[in-house]
């Protein structure tokens, strides 16, 4: 990408001029570059891959054992019969991987911005939205690879979905991953420094995860607190988990699908605006003396 740039192109506000419009193949080369970079980064950071797997596996092996509900979880859709707790939380744990991974890619954007790598990306002659979407797709691809690795281990642990579920879940994972990565990207535009990421952890990841049906059915939350139930319903992560859960059993939960698609568009739109140099938040931060 950088080969197409003028030598002095270092500022985020520079719009390169090119006489011929870019063709699809140029866009694809750009996308490939971003995907490869994210993939390489993921492969080189083996600890990240292992830690991304260890987290849900700890929940599956230890937390689920503690909460086992040996007599089965009551039947709620999409389940047609009684299931064990570890079966119930598996879609929630897939959601957890997507959530953490989405936030991690936002963390990497903050890091990129601090280290100056982001300039290389943002000064590319391609439209800003395309660069952000490419970055998003790269993040989602990495998340999905992690989810499938987790599902393979869960399979050997005895948590098995119908075979068709493993295919059906792919688009659900893609959409949910896209939504969570877009949310991460939007948040990353608001964070000035890497250190602030702990705030995201406490104010976004944990509330989103715990106020959702990932760990317990919503009817149980409704029983104990109607207010908490409403909060869960207002949580987009709830719908990501349910979309994945239904897809595992070959079904589409249309409400979840609509919410996930809607939120993805909203977050992505927000991120594109936020990263737009002419009107975005980054500009404002620079005005206020931020180091973005």
């Amino acid at each position: 990408m950088s080969t197409t740039l003028p030598a002095n192109a270092t500022g985020a506000g520079i719009v390169p001029v090119r006489s011929k419009p870019y063709r699809l193949v140029n866009y694809l080369i750009c996308l490939k570059g971003i995907l490869l970079r994210e993939g390489l980064r993921f492969i080189h950071q083996r600890e990240r891959f292992i830690s991304s797997l260890v987290r849900p596996l700890l929940w599956l092996f230890i937390f689920a054992a503690g909460f086992r509900q040996v007599l089965g979880v009551s039947i709620i859709p999409p389940y047609k019969t009684y299931v064990l707790y570890e079966v119930y939380i598996t879609p929630g744990l897939c959601g957890m991987i997507l959530l953490f991974s989405g936030m991690q890619s936002s963390l990497s954007m903050v890091y990129d911005r601090e280290m100056g790598n982001m300039r290389t990306l943002l000064v590319s002659p391609f439209p800003r939205w395309f660069l952000l979407v490419s970055k998003l797709l790269a993040g989602v691809a990495v998340s999905i690879a992690q989810v499938y690795a987790f599902l393979v281990i869960a399979w050997f642990w005895g948590v098995k979905a119908p075979p068709i579920g493993y295919v059906m879940v792919l688009p659900a994972l893609f959409l949910s991953g896209l939504m969570l990565c877009a949310l991460g990207m939007l948040l990353s535009s608001m964070i000035r420094q890497l250190e602030n990421f702990a705030g995201i952890m406490n104010f976004v990841i944990f509330p989103a995860y715990f106020a959702s049906p990932a760990l317990y059915p919503l009817w149980r939350i409704q029983e104990s607190s109607p207010l908490l139930y409403k909060i869960c319903l207002a949580n987009p992560f709830t719908y990501a988990v349910e979309l994945v859960r239904f897809a595992f059993y070959g079904q589409i939960d249309w409400t979840s699908l609509a919410v996930v698609v809607g939120c993805t568009l909203l977050f992505l739109g927000g991120a594109i605006i936020a990263y737009d140099p002419s009107r975005g938040l980054m500009n404002r931060k620079q005005d206020t003396g931020g180091n973005a």
């Binding site: 086992r68 040996v70 007599l71 089965g72 039947i75 047609k80 019969t81 009684y82 299931v83 064990l84």
Partner: protein, 324 residues
């Protein structure tokens, strides 16, 4: 084009062959609300609920599938239900408190356990007459009959015995002591063994039909569950004699046992307090009645995975599937 059409036809034919060819009717006795639920085995939906006598428990069906026989325990009678009209068309003199019964292989006689009177009553189905009353141990319940119809086994819950009764002389020929509270007796299809479940003992005793001695004892262990929660009740053995299913009561599980090695291979999670079991005639599915959760669970016999649970009446107890 012709080849494509042929391929399409072949695909469609294969698709038709793969789909379930026949819907069986599943009849479930609901002990608490005095009804019988009729469930379609293909759609897995309740198609009708029939009002029956008080406290319906044991349920079986005539070999031609025309009549369901149902123990109305608190009405001291056996009700005969026409499967075409789903109406009670007749009653049989069962003796007091009939709980569980078995139909002879020729379909002519019913052997009924009378829980309160410590008797086994033998009824001629055609003439509706009591042929014999056999005194047995205290609280008789489980009833099994050998495939040749020559011997039947009754279990008495309090005496903890399996009584072998000669079906010609109607006399007890052997008594075999088993573990506490025997609930159910089931012959292997080749008649070589009788499997008797003991609810409190938590075991299934395998009695050799030739020597009339307990040769094996199956125990169950489910991680996370106390031994007292594992209470074996209903037993069914596949026609090839290779696999047995044991309902484990409040353990909410059906144990899958290798009937040749007597090892438990799997525990299938079903509803609460699983009681009795029944195969579909093609033996592709086994159905469990789950008393406390008021439902029945369909289990795929090939994979031993539960496929679906269907809500029926209150406290489902017994289950039988139409033979055709």
């Amino acid at each position: 084009m012709g080849r494509r059409l042929a391929l399409l036809a072949a695909t469609l034919a294969a698709g038709c062959a793969a789909s379930p060819a026949w819907a069986y009717m599943v009849y479930v006795s609901n002990e608490k609300d005095n009804t019988m639920s009729v469930v379609d085995s293909t759609t897995m939906e309740v198609v009708k609920t029939v009002n029956v006598g008080q406290r319906p428990r044991g349920i079986t069906i005539s070999h031609d599938g025309k009549f369901v026989y149902l123990c109305a325990s608190d009405d001291d009678t056996i009700e005969v239900i026409d499967t075409a009209t789903l109406e009670i068309v007749d009653t049989l003199p069962s003796g007091p408190d009939p709980e569980l019964f078995v139909l002879s292989p020729d379909g002519k006689k019913l052997y009924v356990a009378n829980e309160d009177d410590n008797l086994v009553t033998v009824i001629d189905v055609a003439t509706k007459k009591v042929l014999a009353e056999v005194p047995v141990g205290v609280e008789p319940e489980g009833m099994g009959i050998s495939p040749d119809g020559k011997v039947m086994v009754n279990t008495s819950e309090t005496t903890n015995m399996a009584h072998f009764i000669d079906t010609e002389s109607h006399e007890i020929v052997n008594n075999v002591l088993v573990d506490s509270r025997p609930r159910f007796a089931e012959f292997k299809p080749d008649g070589s063994e009788v499997w008797v479940s003991a609810e409190i003992g938590g075991t299934v005793s395998i009695i050799d039909n030739a020597s009339r001695e307990v040769t094996h004892k199956i125990t169950f262990e489910i991680p996370g569950l106390r031994a007292e929660s594992i209470q074996p009740v209903g037993i069914r053995i596949t026609a090839d004699g290779k696999k047995a299913y044991v309902a484990l009561g409040p353990a909410n599980r059906v144990a899958v046992v290798n009937a040749e090695t007597y090892e438990v291979e799997k525990y299938v999670l079903v509803g609460q307090r699983v009681w009795q079991l029944a195969f579909t005639p093609d033996q592709k599915t086994i159905i469990s009645t789950n008393g406390i959760s008021n439902d029945i669970t369909f289990i795929d016999v090939a994979t031993d995975e539960p496929t679906q649970s269907v809500t029926v009446g209150a406290l489902p107890w017994g289950v039988v599937v139409s033979p055709n």
